[in-house]
Every structure is written in C-alpha cells, then in structure tokens.
Subunit: 117 residues, 2 copies
DNA sequence: CTTGCATACCTCGAACTGATTGGTATATAT
DNA sequence: ATATATACCAATCAGTTCGAGGTATGCAAG
C-alpha cells in the first residue's frame, strides 16, 4: 500500500504567508518587504531578495496581489497591495499553518504530564 | 552585498524533531513511529515510512539513537531509544523550532493592535 | 572624481528536504 | 489462494529555498 498522502510538502509556504500578511497590513515594495520580514521577526527570519521577489511575482500572477510602479528619488519602486483573492489565500494559509504548528506543539509539549494512569 | 544568511533552511528538521520527541517518551520501532506521528498529531501530519526510516538511520549514525533488534511473532523489529546526545539534539531542535514559530506567530497575529503611533 | 555603500530591481542554478514509489518478507484473516 | 496488515529498506522524483550573480541609481567619503 502506498503512503496515504495527507500532507504534500507540509512545512512550506511560510514565505508566502509572511508576505501576504505584511501586505495585508499595508502596501509595500519588494525591498521594503525584505527588511520588514527581518524587523518583524526580530532578526529571527531573514528572507533574501532571491526568495521575496519570486514570491511577489507568483502571487501577482495568481491574482493575489496588485502592483503599481512609482519612482521615488530617481529609484523605481514597485508597490504591491493585496487583493480580495489574496485575502482569502492569506486566510487559508493562516488556518493550515495554525493547525500544523498546533499539532506539532502538542507532540513537543506532550509527555510532560505523563498520563501514565 | 550578499544576503546575510541567518537561517539556512529555516523550516526544516520537523520530522527529526517529532521522531526524537516520541523516542524520548519511550522506545519504539520504526513502523510504530510512523503510526505514532499520525495518531499524536490527530491525523494532521502523516510521515510515511520513506521519511521515517531515513531519519531513524541518520539519527543513529549521528549517535542520537541506539537500536536493538528483536523478533516478535516471527517479525523482526528494530527498537530505537534516545541517547544523551539525542536528548541534547532534541533540546536544540525544540528551542529553535519554538523561537521560529513564535517569530512567525508574532507577524501573523500582529497588525491587530496597529501600533501606528 | 572615483570608490564604495545603500537602495532597488531581477534571474538562475545549486542544494537540500521530504514525497513517492517500489521492493522484500512474514503472519493472519477471508 | 488471496488479500491485508505488519515490518523493514532503498532510490529516485519533486518542490522550495538559498545563494550567487547581474543591472542601475543616488549619496557620502576620501
């Protein structure tokens, strides 16, 4: 019997989740997102541009984000904002992320109270 | 300037964490671990034999686990138990896992209180 | 004035996990 | 006799993220 495939790539999609969440709070441009991730996670997580930009492009292609171009101080920025579809996606990702970490947390925290009874 | 590489493969090592934790509670054999993961996570996470066995072998090779062979009902089982080194590894993994998920949780939960000030 | 650094965008291949598939073998139930 | 559950294992596939590259502008320091 093959494996019952309940969780294809169960730990992925975290960069996507973080990007969507940050853009749900306010419009940002790519380079700004890179730094926001670092700051907001207290330097715990650093996602480089090589991670953020592809995520941004992918989400836009799926219709989860809109972009608009703007030049500031001679530098061209691309501002991204979240769409209704993006909000739905964020909601889904947040749900599965929560379920997953709680399941793991249960195991990791378990065995302390030792329900040996 | 290259990316500051603070988190190489930041979301990995969860299978290893789960296996170590379960074996810290009690000695188990491979096939048993596969089912224990499913049960203990409320069917949320299913790690197939193709994931568990390599993890087991790797951990043993690193000295995090000991194994002993035993035949039960004509079937050969390999029981794994955690070593002192394994306990240290578990402690490390648990720590970084906790730090990581808390950092993400902060972002995901944030933006509600809107510290716009 | 040119060297360097921060900003700002981007792509592509390497590396690493974890997923899937397939294989062996025994016991038990149908 | 066949199928199912137990029990082990290896090897390749697939998907993500990482890292290193590349372009270009503005500003500050020497």
């Amino acid at each position: 019997m093959p494996n019952p495939r309940t969780n294809p790539n169960f730990m992925n999609g975290v960069p996507e989740l973080l990007v969507l969440k940050l853009l749900a709070e306010r419009e940002m441009y790519g380079y700004e997102v890179v730094q926001a991730v670092r700051r907001r996670t207290g330097e715990t997580i650093t996602l480089g541009e090589g991670v953020i930009y592809p995520v941004l492009h992918g989400l836009e292609r799926e219709g989860a984000l809109n972009s608009r171009r703007q030049t500031v101080n001679g530098r061209s920025r691309i501002y991204y904002s979240i769409t209704a579809a993006g909000m739905r996606r964020l909601s889904d990702l947040t749900g599965s992320w929560t379920r997953l970490t709680m399941a793991i947390q249960d195991v990791v925290a378990g065995g302390k109270y030792v329900p040996t009874v």
